[in-house]
């Protein structure tokens, strides 16, 4: 059972780390604001989600696990709102050019 939990954790956290790496790469390499935002949200949503999922088998209680999930949900909410605002500002700036 512990072995299974460990395997799930390792796979999920490594996958999450890959999403973070890919997101960072996209942030550095993509050509404009919108595609960069797209890359960034992948790291936030999926990357952090997978890391949280991978940590869940090892938490010392239901409350701690719930806290981790809430952290993930809050980061998604903040990330989605912030990228909306950045995208809107970028589009307005584009129109003025």
């Amino acid at each position: 059972m512990t072995l299974l939990a460990d395997v799930v954790s390792i796979v999920a956290i490594v996958a999450g780390a890959i999403f973070f790496l890919a997101g960072t790469l996209g942030l550095l390499r993509f050509p404009d604001t919108f595609t960069r935002l797209h890359a960034l949200t992948k790291a936030d949503n999926l990357g952090l989600g997978l890391v949280v999922f991978g940590l869940l088998p090892h938490v010392d209680g239901v409350v701690t696990g719930l806290k981790l999930v809430v952290v993930w949900l809050l980061v998604m909410l903040a990330g989605a709102c912030a990228s909306q605002m950045v995208a809107r500002t970028a589009r307005r700036a584009e129109r003025h050019d």
Partner: protein, 313 residues
Amino acid sequence: MTDLLNAGLAALIVALAIWAVFARDAFAAVVGFIAYGLLLTLVWVQLQGVDVALTEAAIGGGLTGALLIGAASRLRGTEAVARAERPRTLVRVAAAALSAAVTAALAIGVLMLPDPAPTLAPQTMANIATTGVGNPITAVLLAFRAMDTLLEAIVLVFALIGVWSLGPDQAWGGRPGLRHRADPNGILAYLARVLPPIGIIVGTYIFWVGADHPGGKFQGATIVAAMWLLVIMAGLADAPPISRTWVRVGLAAGPLVFIAIGLMGAATAGAFLAYPDGYAKPLIIVIELALMPTLALILALLIAGAPRRPVQP
């Protein structure tokens, strides 16, 4: 493995610090500084100083970052002019040498600390039972060194008065900053409706849990203040005029309650800020409860800035 992580963290922090100093654009430097604060949070976690980490994230990265973003956007108009008139090489070299000397002195000071470093931690742990709280940091801040915390709260009130005094004369007593306008159906207004209930609960939780675990009124108050600022920035509510009675009362209440309890200690327990036997925990809770709204008010109004809009009679 941990050594590798620590080395990477240290290298990143030094690189980011250098970048923030050398960045040409004030806004970019501020963003670098905020990221620097977040990395510093990780360092404190790594050093097992979770209380300090929380404070660094809330105050160092968050609140100071917000203040600096405000300052950078105000300076944007004059930045090009300021850059054109670069100080002379001699002045620049002297400034760099002075900064390097300060850094070197700090580094030598840290490296020459005796090993093991002098610590009062055992005394704190030996006497923590008398305070009734479980978190040694809270015991230090509100019992063993309560004077420091009291002065800290008073200094913050003075800082706010300093910020207010930067406003123009005719705006004195008026509302701070400019009126924020945002699309009432936009994403910011949405966030400002969804997040505050969650943020207030999280802030109160961090405040309450501070008695026995990392947390406390300062970190909690920062989160509550951030929620209020979010509502103000989304245009859902306006910042209050600084002459409002409830603002003034709120600002004075925390330190006054603290001082009153301190004087009571002088009368009943023989020293200013001493707690009578058995009453330490309830009195600490009363002080924290009184300080938390005051701190939230101060921190939010510090960011809201100097009064700029006179109240219409």
